[in-house]
């Protein structure tokens, strides 16, 4: 069952790479159904749980990886999980409760009950419940993703503040060291992303935000590609993170919207009056769909990359053969390289679309109807 689900997922992800691979998978899934069969009589009644207890389950591994978790699993040593305990911070009915994630003893099935602050909690699939109920306290824990977020932020601050020190010391000198590395990137964001989308008059207002956005996404994308601690958290592939970033785009765009911008949404000039309410409806929906697509695009791209890499690595364990590893390594290398590109590309796309959104909000339209007829197709 687990294998079946994995292959469905795998096929869905790999489909664009061509039907050749897909047809191979069909062969494999027939082949690999054999080991499941011989345990089937013991667990015939509870097939869903069988693969979890019987060896390797790539679906669980991948889903576990791309989801957030309390405690950072680093490796397994001698049959024991080695993980970094992280603080669990809960806002309960009785106020704030803080304890270490290690108190769950790696239990994510809701069996191990933790007593803290006079209350009982269990960890059910990385969600904290009051023990024995279906109620959840508000969870503000420093999870794996939050820690990765903080580390990424610290890294960004270190990089750019030390680069900024060069400029404080040297006026009108060619950049050297770290500054010579970051300056082309900064200029790329300013000149190739922002300048094309935002009118020159408003450019300086938005460039700092766009720079922060670009490097935040890029650096965190790259940290996510590092396969071992302290990298590898699926931060930018988490919908909460992309939600926040998209929400900032939405808020900043509409806060800065000029009268012109709003007029083009609620009462489109240069369009026959009966059409105006319909267009207003479409435009109003558009205000939200644009950031929504930003949120989904980044989330889906990064998550898909993580799934793909993990699937390819999992092949070795699915076939339980070391002979698969060369192929698996080559494919993983290929996809990882591709993901390096995707990491930069998605940061670029998100920043670009955000810049265009800002540009549209502050743009001044020339009010003549002919231009509108041309400009709004």
């Amino acid at each position: 069952m687990g294998l079946g689900r994995f292959f469905t997922l795998f096929t869905a992800v790999i489909m664009p790479l061509g039907s050749v691979l897909a047809s191979e998978e069909v062969g494999h899934s027939e082949h690999s159904s054999a080991p499941v069969e011989h345990v089937a009589d013991e667990h015939a009644t509870d097939e869903a749980h069988a693969p979890k207890e019987e060896g390797f389950n790539p679906n669980e591994l991948i889903m576990h990886h791309i989801a957030d978790s309390h405690g950072w699993h680093i490796l397994d040593w001698d049959g024991h999980a080695v993980s970094l305990p992280l603080p669990v911070i809960l806002w309960t009915n009785d106020g704030l409760v803080v304890f270490s994630s290690s108190e769950f003893h790696h239990d994510t099935e809701g069996h191990h009950v933790v007593n803290a602050g006079g209350q009982q909690f269990v960890n059910k699939h990385e969600k904290i419940y009051y023990a024995g109920t279906e109620d959840k306290p508000l969870d503000f824990s420093i999870t794996k993703n939050v820690l990765s977020l903080i580390m990424g932020a610290v890294l960004i601050v270190l990089i750019f503040l030390s680069a900024a020190r060069f400029y404080a010391k040297n006026t009108n000198k060619a950049p050297r060291g770290l500054a010579s590395f970051v300056e082309p990137l900064i200029l790329f964001v300013r000149d190739d992303i922002a300048r094309g989308a935002i009118p020159e008059k408003h450019l300086n207002r938005f460039v700092p935000y766009l720079l922060t956005l670009f490097f935040f996404i890029w650096v965190n994308n790259l940290l996510g590609l590092v396969p071992f601690f302290p990298g590898g958290a699926n931060l930018t592939g988490n919908i909460a993170v992309t939600l926040v970033l998209a929400a900032f785009t939405l808020i900043i765009t509409n806060v800065n919207g000029t009268k012109d911008y709003w007029m083009h949404i609620v009462w489109m000039p240069g369009v026959p009056t009966p059409l105006k309410p319909i267009l207003a409806l479409i435009e109003l929906i558009g205000v939200f769909t644009k950031p929504f697509s930003l949120m989904i695009r980044l989330f889906a791209n990064i998550t898909a990359g993580h799934i793909l890499v993990l699937s390819l690595v999992s092949l070795i364990f699915i076939f339980e053969s070391v002979w698969i590893s060369p192929g698996s390594i080559v494919l993983t290398l290929f996809i990882s390289t591709l993901e390096l590109l995707v990491a930069a590309l998605q940061a670029y796309v998100f920043t670009m679309l955000t810049a265009m959104s800002f540009g549209a909000a502050v743009e001044e339209h020339h009010h003549d109807d002919h231009a509108h007829a041309e400009g709004h197709h």
Binding site: D139, V146, V157, N172, R190, P208, Y209, A240
Partner: protein
């Protein structure tokens, strides 16, 4: 599905961390870097413009230099020409005066020589005349001592005179 359900905790933390980043980087990284870069760009622009104008200036200077050089050359040529003319004139004048002087000297020398010669000739004539008179005296004396011989001679001379 869990995967597409945003967790409240992560939303809050991301918002906080991202806002801190926007603030920190905006104040301590982007502002100094961007203004430094802009200042540098302006400085480069200005330097390029200055170089351009300096080049133009230099071109102008070079042109005027050439003009000056040309002028100087022309002037020099004129001076040389003038000098040469003056020299030629002077030489010609000198030659002229020298030849005049020489002619004058020559003339006076010639006059002197002529005078000397004339004096000498006169002297010679006088002496010859004296000699002739003396000789004639002697001859006359002798002839007069022998009157027949003298008579014969006078006759013969007279005959000769008639023949002339």
């Amino acid at each position: 599905m869990d995967l597409v359900t945003p967790g409240l905790g992560l939303i809050v933390w991301t918002t906080i961390v991202f806002l801190i980043l926007v603030f920190l980087l905006g104040k301590f990284a982007w502002k100094p870097i961007l203004s430094a870069v802009q200042a540098r760009e302006e400085a480069i622009d200005q330097a390029l413009k200055q170089a351009e104008s300096a080049r133009a200036e230099m071109g102008k200077l070079q042109a005027s230099n050439e003009q000056l050089l040309k002028q100087a050359r022309e002037e020099r040529e004129a001076i040389v020409k003038e000098g040469r003319a003056m020299r030629d004139a002077m030489v010609a004048e000198a030659k002229e005066s020298a030849s005049v002087e020489a002619a004058k000297i020559l003339e006076s020398a010639r006059t002197q020589i002529h005078q000397e010669k004339m004096a000498a000739v006169t002297e010679l004539k006088n002496q010859v005349a004296q000699l002739a008179v003396d000789m004639a005296e002697k001859v006359l004396r002798a002839e007069l001592a022998q009157p027949e011989v003298a008579k014969a001679n006078i006759d013969r001379d007279l005959k000769d005179l008639n023949l002339n």
